[in-house]
Structures are given as structure tokens and as C-alpha cells.
């Protein structure tokens, strides 16, 4: 019961505290401790040092073990930087939204953990809807028109999408009619056990609805727009949180239904649907990068691209699946650094336009270097993680003889690489007379930089250490999906 308390009840309680107490410093400390507890517990759980006993509708298996680790890792770093971030003076309107910041953050943690630990589709649905609701006001942090619009669009699109997902869930229960007795419907393991018996038509329908519905949250094209708007206009820690963990929460739902599908005859269909979706999102990212004019949107589209790659890997199965899981981990870490650095740049220049941001290297040398390195990392330059996971995915594609897909995504990735780096270099190096004149003082080394450096080191160390626990866990996930390398 302790685990349930720490994972879900404690954050809820913390958010409640944050509602009572008004001082932001205290908010920070509360959430910091919650984050630490969460992280420690999830590490313990991940290393199977702590055996969990959870109430009904909740249960832990290898997937949730893996994803909750990612979640609490991202959350931990985000919380640490958040205080530093909130201290920055922006405008008096923002002061208003600072009050609710940690409250919502804690609520987000609670709901997201619930979503990840749930072993019942209904529970999952409720929890993930709750995550949307908790994030939506955080998107509106800056209280300006863009953020308002972004919030509206995100909330609306995702709510509708998730409603569709619910229809999918209903179909699923329809598919399992007369196979599962009442009260045991919609539990994952039951469905997986009887996957082969499920009614094919409804299973297909439910897969389509759930996949498309959750795509709005994952950011799979063509349902990516609301997601991109939100990510690009949210404050950087929230953007990091969204790209790092929220999208994965949605992905988890898709994984669940996919896991059921893998044991049924619909497998190939589901695979092809997912591949289509991922290729579409890669294409969208590829097409956007040519005319990008807003660097935070650039990063948002890069998340679209990477989630697309992950989906592709999952759909391909086998080694690519392993690659995809690694990719989700590395991507989550990498995105934190990217968004934090982008946030620094945005704070200095007060603009998201690539045209109006120039010569970052001169004005913010540390941020500039870190941003450059993290961009290189996200573009798949060794020794950072993305390189290894991408190689795994490519190899998996080759093993399953999907040459055309491989060539296609390599083409997309190549141009994404070229254009993204082009834009980023424009930001970093291009001289602009008007800014470099009133170029004031040297940037001083802050906590954010330290954290980014640590994260980058983490990103390089995890793959190079060939950590066995992660690998074993991923193998067991693979096993749950009835695949093998």
C-alpha cells in the first residue's frame, strides 16, 4: 500500500497542501520531496527491490515499471529547475499563475502515475484525461494570447481525441462480450489472455479509435497540431514535461491496446496503421523543418518526429521495439535539456522568432554551447543516446526487411537533420548588429546549466554503460508482447 500512497496519494496530498499554503518556496520544497520520494520508489520498483501491492484497477508490470521511471526522472528534474524558473521576473500577470504552478504539477504527477499504474482501460482513461486537465492551465502560464489560444486548442483537441479513445474502449468491451464475465472486462491481462478469442471487427474498430484518439495527445500526424501549439507555447519546464512524459502516457495507452492486438489476428493491420501514422508524422516534421520560423515550434516538431520514430519502432517489433523503448527514454531526457536551453534563450531575447534571435553564442555562451550539443544529441550524434536507439531501430527495420521504409525515413531524417541544424545555427551564430551592440555582461553559470550538463552526461553514460537492468526490463516487456529479438 505504501507504493500506492507514494505514487498517487502523496502527490494529491501535496497539491492539496499547495492549495492551502501560499508561499511558493514551500510549494517548491513540498514538491521537491514528493519528487524525490517518487524517484526513489520508482527506482526501487524498477530494480525489483520493492514488490508492489496495489489496489484493484492498479497493477504494475514491466511496461509501467519502465514508463514510471521515465516519468519520475523527468518530473524530478523539471521540479528542480521550476523554482529557478519561477523566480524569473516576467510580467505581473504571470505572478497570478505562479500560485497554481506547483499545485497543478503535483496533480499532474498523481494523475500521470495513476495512468501509468492502471491496469484497467477505464481507469487509464480517467487518469490520462486528468493529466490533460492538469497540464492545460500550465500551458496558460504566460497569460498572453498565444498561450491562451494554445491552451484552448490543446484542451479541446485532446478532449475530443480522448473521447474517441473512450469509444474505442467501449468497442473493446463490445469485442470482449460473452468472452469475459462482467466485472472482469477491460482488465488488460484478461484481454491479453483471451486476445485470440476477441471479435475481430470490434477489435479493429477499437484499435483505430484508441490509436487515433490518443494520437492527438501523442502528436502523431495528422492530429499533431494541438500538441505542437501547446508544446511550443508552454513554459519550458512544462514543455519538457509534455514532450518527456505526457506524450509517453498517451503512448502507453496505444501500447496497451497494441499488446492485446499482438496476440490476435488483427496484428498486421494494426502494425500497418501505426506505420502509416508514424511515417505521416515524420513527413510532417520533415516538411515543417523547411520553413520553420519559430525555434520552440521547431523543437515541438522534433518531438513529433521522435514520437513518430518510436511508434515506427513499436510497430516494426523485434529489435526495433527495443530501440523504440530506449528511444523513448533518451528522447525524454534529451528534450528536457533542449527545452530548458530554449527557455533561457527565450527569456533573454523575449522572442521565439528565428529571425529576431541572433548571435546567441556571443551573448549566452554557456547556453549556446549546451543548446548546440543537445541539438546535436537529438539529431543522433554519438556518444549520446539517440544515436544508439536510432541505430537499433534501423537495424530492426532491416532485420524485418522493410527497406523502403528504412530508406524513406532516412531521407526524412536527413533533411530534418539538415534543416533543423541550419535553423539552429542561424540562431546561434548569425551576427545581428542591433543586438550585439547592447551586448551587456557575460552570462553567469546557473543551476539550469549544471542540470543540463548532468542530463547530457546521463544521456551519454546510460547507453555507454550498457546497463543490464534496463535491458532486462525491456526484454521482459518484449516478452509480454510475445515478441523476441
Amino acid at each position: 500500500m505504501l507504493d500506492f500512497t507514494i505514487f498517487i496519494l502523496l502527490p494529491l496530498f501535496a497539491s492539496f497542501l499547495c492549495y492551502i499554503v501560499k508561499n511558493i518556496k514551500i510549494h517548491f520544497f513540498i514538491s521537491f520531496f514528493v519528487a524525490i520520494f517518487h524517484l526513489v520508489l520508482s527506482l526501487l520498483v524498477f530494480n525489483k527491490l520493492y514488490h508492489t501491492i496495489l489496489p484493484t484497477y492498479f497493477g504494475i508490470d514491466s511496461i509501467s515499471r519502465f514508463f514510471i521511471l521515465i516519468l519520475s526522472n523527468v518530473y524530478f528534474w523539471v521540479v528542480i529547475v521550476s523554482y529557478n524558473y519561477l523566480k524569473r521576473p516576467y510580467s505581473e500577470k504571470v505572478e497570478e499563475s505562479k500560485k497554481y504552478y506547483f499545485l497543478l504539477l503535483n496533480f499532474y504527477l498523481a494523475s500521470n502515475s495513476a495512468a501509468m499504474l492502471s491496469n484497467h482501460f477505464g481507469m487509464y482513461w480517467v487518469a490520462s484525461e486528468a493529466t490533460t486537465l492538469s497540464v492545460a492551465p500550465l500551458i496558460y502560464y504566460y497569460r498572453n494570447e498565444e498561450s491562451l489560444e494554445a491552451m484552448w486548442k490543446y484542451m479541446f483537441t485532446v478532449s475530443i481525441g480522448i473521447a474517441f479513445a473512450f469509444i474505442g474502449i467501449l468497442f473493446l468491451s463490445l469485442a470482449s462480450k460473452n468472452i469475459l464475465y462482467d466485472g472482469r472486462q477491460l482488465f488488460y491481462w484478461e484481454l491479453i489472455k483471451n486476445a485470440s478469442k476477441l471479435n475481430t471487427i470490434w477489435l479493429k474498430a477499437s484499435f483505430i479509435f484508441i490509436f487515433v484518439g490518443l494520437s492527438t495527445k501523442i502528436g502523431i500526424a495528422p492530429m499533431h497540431s494541438g500538441d505542437v501549439d501547446a508544446t511550443s507555447n508552454a513554459p519550458s519546464p512544462i514543455a519538457a514535461l509534455m514532450s518527456g512524459s505526457l506524450r509517453l502516457t498517451a503512448l502507453l495507452g496505444v501500447l496497451r491496446i497494441f499488446q492485446i492486438v499482438t496476440f490476435s489476428s488483427t496484428y498486421s493491420f494494426a502494425k500497418s496503421i501505426m506505420i502509416i501514422g508514424s511515417l505521416l508524422s515524420l513527413f510532417v516534421a520533415f516538411a515543417y523543418m523547411f520553413k520553420a520560423n519559430n525555434y520552440k515550434r521547431l523543437l515541438a516538431y522534433s518531438s513529433v518526429e521522435h514520437l513518430g520514430i518510436i511508434t515506427l519502432g513499436i510497430a516494426t517489433g523485434g529489435l526495433a521495439f527495443v530501440g523504440a523503448l530506449y528511444h523513448s527514454l533518451y528522447n525524454s531526457i534529451n528534450k528536457i535539456v533542449l527545452f530548458l536551453m530554449a527557455g533561457n534563450i527565450h527569456y533573454k531575447y523575449k522572442s521565439r522568432e528565428i529571425e529576431s534571435v541572433k548571435s546567441v553564442f556571443k551573448n549566452l555562451p554557456i547556453t549556446g554551447w549546451l543548446f548546440l550539443i543537445s541539438v546535436l544529441a537529438i539529431l543522433g550524434i554519438p556518444p549520446f543516446g539517440i544515436f544508439f536507439s536510432e541505430i537499433k531501430i534501423f537495424e530492426g527495420l532491416i532485420i524485418s526487411n522493410q527497406w523502403f521504409i528504412l530508406v524513406a525515413i532516412m531521407f526524412f531524417l536527413l533533411f530534418i537533420f539538415v534543416n533543423m541544424s541550419k535553423k539552429v545555427f542561424e540562431i546561434l551564430f548569425k551576427e545581428d548588429d542591433l543586438f550585439s551592440n547592447n551586448y551587456v555582461k557575460k552570462e553567469k553559470f546557473e543551476l539550469i546549466h549544471l542540470i543540463s550538463i548532468m542530463l547530457l552526461i546521463m544521456l551519454a553514460v546510460i547507453p555507454l554503460s550498457f546497463s543490464n537492468t534496463i535491458y532486462q526490463n525491456i526484454l521482459s516487456i518484449l516478452n509480454d508482447f510475445g515478441m523476441k529479438i
Binding site: E129, E145, F156
Partner: protein
């Protein structure tokens, strides 16, 4: 009996399609809420139990009282114009709606050959979903979008009753709560929008572009 209510439900959709007044949407929502509640109570008329009554009551509370009142309040506060201004002619819209409803009924009946489900509630629920989407697509006013979203939700609810899947009580409640919170947040957002953009048109929300 179920079928009767469902028919009423889909009729309310047609009313939505042709009405010009914003208020009408709210009353339709109320009506649909009542229908859903009744649908839920139906099976328990003879064998009465306290658990059976909780859910209908909450539905009545949320879908019939709270949400419509809230929307009314918004409409009053932001004095939104009574008339909706459709992007396409009402008649065309109506035709589209009818056509899609017919198609949905046909499809459902086709599908129901090889799997048993009570067609009419399912189909009307589904058509509610579609109509909800249509409302969002073909209307400019954001408030109507919200209503469209709610109609969609109702449709889903109807389906869930139609296929009689035993969703656990607390999860049903959770869903209702979520929906309510969504609407609540949307209301707040609408307030903000009204005082940042001076208007509730979708056309105002065009800042974020690639």
C-alpha cells in the same frame, strides 16, 4: 423502451441541426441529460437498489443541472449574441446531418447481423457523436463548440449504455467528473478569451501558425 428514448435522443439532434438560438442548445443538453438518466434507471425500475440510483442521480446533477446552468451563466456574463451565425446554410447542414444519421443507422444494422447489439441506441449515440463533431466543424462560436463537445459526450454515454458494458461505478463517476472539469476549464478559458480577444469566434484563434 430504450429504443424510444434513443429515438427521442436522435430527434433532439435534428433540432440542434436546425435551431438558430444558442439557448436552444442548452435546453437540448438538459433534455439529453434527462434521457440518459432515464435510460440508466430503466433496468432497475423493479429491482431497486441504492447503487443503481447513484449514477443516474449524478448524471442528473451534472448533465442536467450543473453544466447547463454553467453554460447559461457564461452566456449571460459574456452576453453572447442569441443567434448563431452558421458558416453553411441551415438546410444544407440539416441535410448533411440526416444523411449521416441514416448512413450510421444502416451501417449499424449491417454490423449487428454478426454481433448482437441493440441497434437504435447504439446508432443514435453514434450519430450524436458525429453531429457533435459537425457542430464543432461548421459553427464559429466557441460556446457552440463546447455544446458540440457535450453532445458528443452524451452520445458516447448513450453508446456505453447501449452495449451495456459494465463499466465500474467509480470509473463512470470519474468520467463524469472529468467531463465536468473539462467544461469548467473551457468556461474559464472562454472568459479569458472574451476579455483578451473581444469575441468568441474561432476566427480569433489564428495566431499560432507554422
Amino acid at each position: 423502451m430504450e429504443n424510444f428514448f434513443s429515438i427521442l435522443f436522435s430527434l433532439s439532434l435534428f433540432y440542434v441541426a436546425i435551431t438558430f438560438r444558442v439557448k436552444a442548445y442548452v435546453s437540448v443538453l438538459r433534455f439529453q441529460g434527462i434521457l440518459l438518466a432515464l435510460l440508466l434507471i430503466l433496468p432497475f425500475i423493479f429491482k431497486f437498489s441504492i447503487y443503481a440510483i447513484i449514477l443516474p442521480l449524478t448524471i442528473v446533477l451534472i448533465k442536467v443541472i450543473l453544466i447547463p446552468n454553467y453554460i447559461n451563466k457564461i452566456i449571460l456574463d459574456l452576453d453572447i449574441k442569441r443567434k448563431i451565425d452558421p458558416t453553411i446554410q441551415q438546410l444544407t447542414f440539416l441535410i448533411i446531418v440526416i444523411a449521416s444519421v441514416i448512413i450510421i443507422f444502416l451501417l449499424t444494422s449491417i454490423i449487428s447481423n454478426n454481433i448482437e447489439l441493440n441497434v437504435i441506441p447504439f446508432a443514435s449515440g453514434f450519430s450524436a457523436i458525429v453531429v457533435g463533431i459537425y457542430l464543432i466543424i461548421f459553427r464559429k462560436k466557441l460556446i457552440i463548440h463546447v455544446c458540440g463537445f457535450l453532445i458528443l459526450e452524451n452520445g458516447i454515454f448513450l453508446i456505453s449504455t447501449a452495449i451495456a458494458s459494465e463499466l465500474p461505478m467509480m470509473i463512470e463517476l470519474g468520467i463524469l467528473l472529468d467531463v465536468f472539469v473539462v467544461v469548467f476549464l473551457m468556461g474559464i478559458a472562454l472568459n479569458r478569451i472574451s476579455d483578451t480577444f473581444e469575441g468568441f469566434e474561432v476566427s480569433h484563434l489564428r495566431r499560432l501558425k507554422d
